[in-house]
Symmetry: C2
Subunit: 350 residues, 2 copies
């Protein structure tokens, strides 16, 4: 494998923002879209970073599937809630605006909750959830994606990978940031295994007819994703049920349909902000969170493991490294970026 | 095994309510406590019904660990939020009152969210979530329980079984009711396997040192529960992360500590109500939910399975049967009830 090329987060972000602008996205929005993609790279969530998503976003804009200048509107509203029509905007860019609405409502009444219909791909869910942190709020984000996952006992995909992100502020510790698909494994891990000729782990996939694959075998030609838990005995009805909750909150509740609606040409999203001060003194809460995080991380490890991690910790550690050393990009990705910049007459900063 | 004895839900409920009253619970509260227990039995959630929980609740009252006449108070409040000190009240009985507060707030501002600290066992989480349904609201309930489950890679229990319940109204279909522990399997399934001399399923438990048991072996003398997903490869960090979310929402956020606080002598709970009308026309939403539920249930089944189920459906089917035919109680349970009634001079209605 060719050696990766290190690119600074700032250079990558400025370059991506210029590319977004060239396909018609207003400068302020282009900045946000680039920030979401590059933060994923900085935190080691490469599946949702520039290398994995930019090509798809560009194609969406160029084919007219994503609206570069959406007229986002509030369809319905109460003091604590809103539902928003994102007018075919990229979720990556419109969701931070929905989160702003949620945060404003949480300042006023303690909780803000916003659904976003008629949208496109979300980007890294935890980006949006983490926007709540600086306001001493808990942030939540979910997205109802197109079907790829079978229900427990099912032979047809009915649910997307439907991730859930939850961000909780602490004082001196890095925040708790949970961000996970409700499927057993991420789609891109399967494709990486296929590329490398590696065997599947048991419980990652179902065959075409819905049977969970519980042996270590090569990646089959066709397959479906399984809910986390893999089989009923191992608790797949829990992963399946949570994927349903996401499909309801970020799909049905938007009023724009759910993942399996035939031809629904969009993603639905859901964000919420809970104001800590509506429940407890925020300083007391953040001290408690520091204690809770330290307690969890200091758990005695099981044999063969060095330490116990807590959600958000590996990403915070990776972010510290990559902010210093840059983001390692595969030479093919660098070439794609340079070619794209050349095509669009954008200056590539690396 | 001796044959089960069928008891009508009404007789069981009236008998249980009389028992609660005899240990000092006011009549109205006794009625609620009995309703929660018996609804679990009616819905086939025997782990949280009379046979499995009443003995423990009675012991708690008799030892003075549960306060039969708690003075529940609101510690902090905004338009959409509240945190409540339940004054050592049984969660089963105080949580419906907290849910009433959440529903009232959701009527006013769209969302209501209430934490309940200094409490005792919750009972069936979905009971409390389902209280929202008749108001055209989505109901949520979680509970932070004492540690029994290891974190991924961990050798010490740091988290309870920490269940999540979500109830969503539909029009003609039974409501969507998800209610599941974030552990791979319920504690009582392990004890049933031990009693029957049956082998474990792979991925149900960890050994004392935290190693996941991935073979079919007899139940070991000592063990820990695993998060849903069982191993890191199968996604146990997702079950672990969700158990953490529950411990934060229903533990840290109550201001009364979390599951692993040494000697925390209590459970913490969390309820929320989301008013559908804050997001969409409730009639449109409920029609959509009917369509969504039918879509999910009509999924083509995988080989070896007759049908695909959706959360709340098996429980609704069981409830229909048991409301007609009664609740089958093991003769030992019937004897325990009769003995308890005799001891407390309460009339046993069966």
């Amino acid at each position: 494998m060719d050696e990766a090329i290190s690119v600074s987060g700032d250079d990558l972000k400025a370059t991506v923002a210029s590319i977004f602008e060239k396909v018609g996205v207003p400068p302020e929005d282009a900045e946000v879209g680039a920030d979401v993609l590059v933060l994923a790279d900085l935190r080691g969530v490469d599946s949702h970073g520039v290398s994995n998503m930019l090509r798809s976003y560009l194609g969406g804009y160029q084919r007219g599937e994503i609206n570069p200048r959406p007229n986002m509107s509030i369809v319905r509203e109460t003091a604590a809630t809103a539902s928003v029509d994102s007018d075919r905007g990229l979720g990556t860019i419109v969701t931070p605006k929905a989160m702003e609405i949620a945060i404003r409502k949480a300042k006023e009444v303690g909780v803000g909750m916003v659904t976003i219909g008629n949208s496109r791909h979300l980007g890294m869910a935890s980006y949006h959830a983490m926007l709540a942190l600086e306001h001493d709020m808990i942030g939540i984000c979910m997205t109802s994606a197109p079907p790829r996952m079978v229900p427990t006992f099912g032979a047809e995909p009915r649910l997307g990978t439907n991730p859930i992100a939850v961000a909780v502020p602490a004082r001196n510790e890095p925040p708790f940031v949970f961000d996970a698909a409700t499927s057993s494994v991420a789609q891109n891990k399967i494709e990486i295994a296929r590329r490398l000729g590696a065997d599947l782990e048991p419980g990652w996939l179902a065959t075409e007819d819905g049977t969970p694959i519980m042996e270590e075998v090569p990646v089959p030609e066709t397959y479906h994703l399984l809910p986390v838990g893999a089989t009923r005995e191992l608790g797949s009805h829990k992963g399946y049920g949570l994927a349903c909750v996401v499909d309801i909150f970020a799909g049905v509740l938007t009023g724009f349909g759910y993942g399996a609606v035939p031809g629904r040409p969009n993603f639905g999203h859901y964000v919420a902000a809970y104001n800590i001060s509506g429940f407890d003194d925020p300083d007391h809460f953040k001290d408690e969170m520091d204690g809770w995080l330290q307690m969890m991380k200091s758990t005695k490890p099981a044999p063969g493991h060095e330490r116990v991690l807590v959600a958000g910790q590996p990403e915070a550690e990776m972010e510290a490294v990559r902010r210093k050393d840059g983001i390692p990009l595969h030479p093919e990705v660098v070439q794609f970026m340079r070619d794209t910049c050349a095509e669009l007459s954008v200056r590539c900063l690396f």
